[in-house]
Symmetry: C2
Subunit: 226 residues, 2 copies
């Protein structure tokens, strides 16, 4: 499948590399490819500059958000929630129309420090905001409830024995996304229902962040035991 | 231990019966014991009237909130979140002072129908509201993330292989509550930290409710796989 990953942070890099390893034709989108490649500093989380990653992942071209979206069958939103709508506007509604948008972003607001709060919650969600802003896109919210390494390779924690949630209004789009999740190695995919159920998964972030503190690692995930 | 369970709904009945079975001296508190015993109708969830339950649980006296709290070493808040502060006022700050309050209530607002929203979230929690209203009580938030049957007997789902969270500002109070949780059969008790971490567990309710819909049963729980 032709997959565009929007966002060059940890989530974007991890998902782009993994989808390419699985044999998909992947591009990674950024605002300004030259500027992204020119950066030589680590990011706030201590990740090496993108150019370093790009050397090891020559099969994943870095292009603009619009170029990435235009070529793709499926688009992955791996941006920070606070800039997601802006990034998708740069990708272009026409380039996104009719496509599946696998939305991983969380509506985290770090403006008051740590722990972040949520800039939308409970009666609305970022997934729904994106769907309203781009009505011709098929938004499927998923993977936003675990750390990037486990999104791409769930076996890295508890042998992969944990759950991933899917929310979306389009049944075929969810089917496509569920297929991709299974390719990644996710064995317990729970379809929560329509996109409003993304309120529930986005609201998992506060306990996720506290668990990371209590456990001293991000390498855990929610399993729905039943 | 002398335990007062405030609330005669499903959670209150289930926890009172279980603590009594475990050998604790339990009372169950209500606004007006005569009125509670006089009711002959089922509640909104189809539970039999309290008087029916009381016949089978003669070892658990029904008393007023204040009488229950006064006699107890530890008080369990098993009321609806919307009335918790009112109920605790009826129990009386003096009767609660210095005691551990095991707080199970969730801030659910059903005024707009199903699914409910949360009347406090993200930057505050019901647990913290209770702690501020009753500064001499040691609030420990726990058990609010699963159905009543599993609070009392975790082995009823997945052989008990799932997690329970604890949030509170008083280390000794948390130790007491963790001991009770272990008596109930909880094997993975995760201390999230101070009471502000209850924001995270209370915000699990939206996905819990959607999971109940997707799975068609409340007999599941979150396990933190790691």
């Amino acid at each position: 499948m032709k997959i565009a990953v929007l966002g060059t942070g940890t989530v974007g890099r991890t998902m782009a590399a993994r989808f390419a390893d699985l044999g998909h034709e992947v591009t990674i989108g950024t605002r300004d490819p030259e500027a992204t490649l020119a950066r030589t500093d680590q990011d706030a989380l201590g990740n090496p500059p993108f150019a370093t990653w790009a050397v090891d992942h020559a099969q994943v071209p870095l292009v603009t958000f619009a170029e990435a979206a235009e070529q793709a069958d499926l688009v992955v939103n791996a941006t920070n929630g606070g800039v997601s709508i802006d990034v998708l506007n740069q990708a272009g509604a026409a380039n996104l129309a009719g496509k599946v948008l696998l939305d991983i972003a969380n509506p985290l607001d770090f403006s008051q420090g740590f722990p972040p709060t949520l800039f939308v919650k409970d009666t609305d969600s970022l997934g729904e905001q994106i769907q309203r802003a781009f009505p011709d896109v098929k938004v499927v919210k998923t993977l936003n409830t675990m750390t990037a390494a486990l999104m791409a390779d769930p076996a890295l924690a508890a042998g992969g024995d944990h759950s991933v949630f899917v929310s979306g209004d389009d049944a075929d789009a969810k089917k496509t996304v569920i297929g991709l999740l299974q390719e990644l190695g996710h064995t317990d995919v729970i379809d929560l229902g329509d996109l409003s159920t993304a309120r529930g998964t986005e609201m998992l972030l506060p306990i996720w962040l506290r668990l990371m503190g209590a456990l001293g690692t991000p390498m855990f995930n929610f399993k729905i035991a039943r």
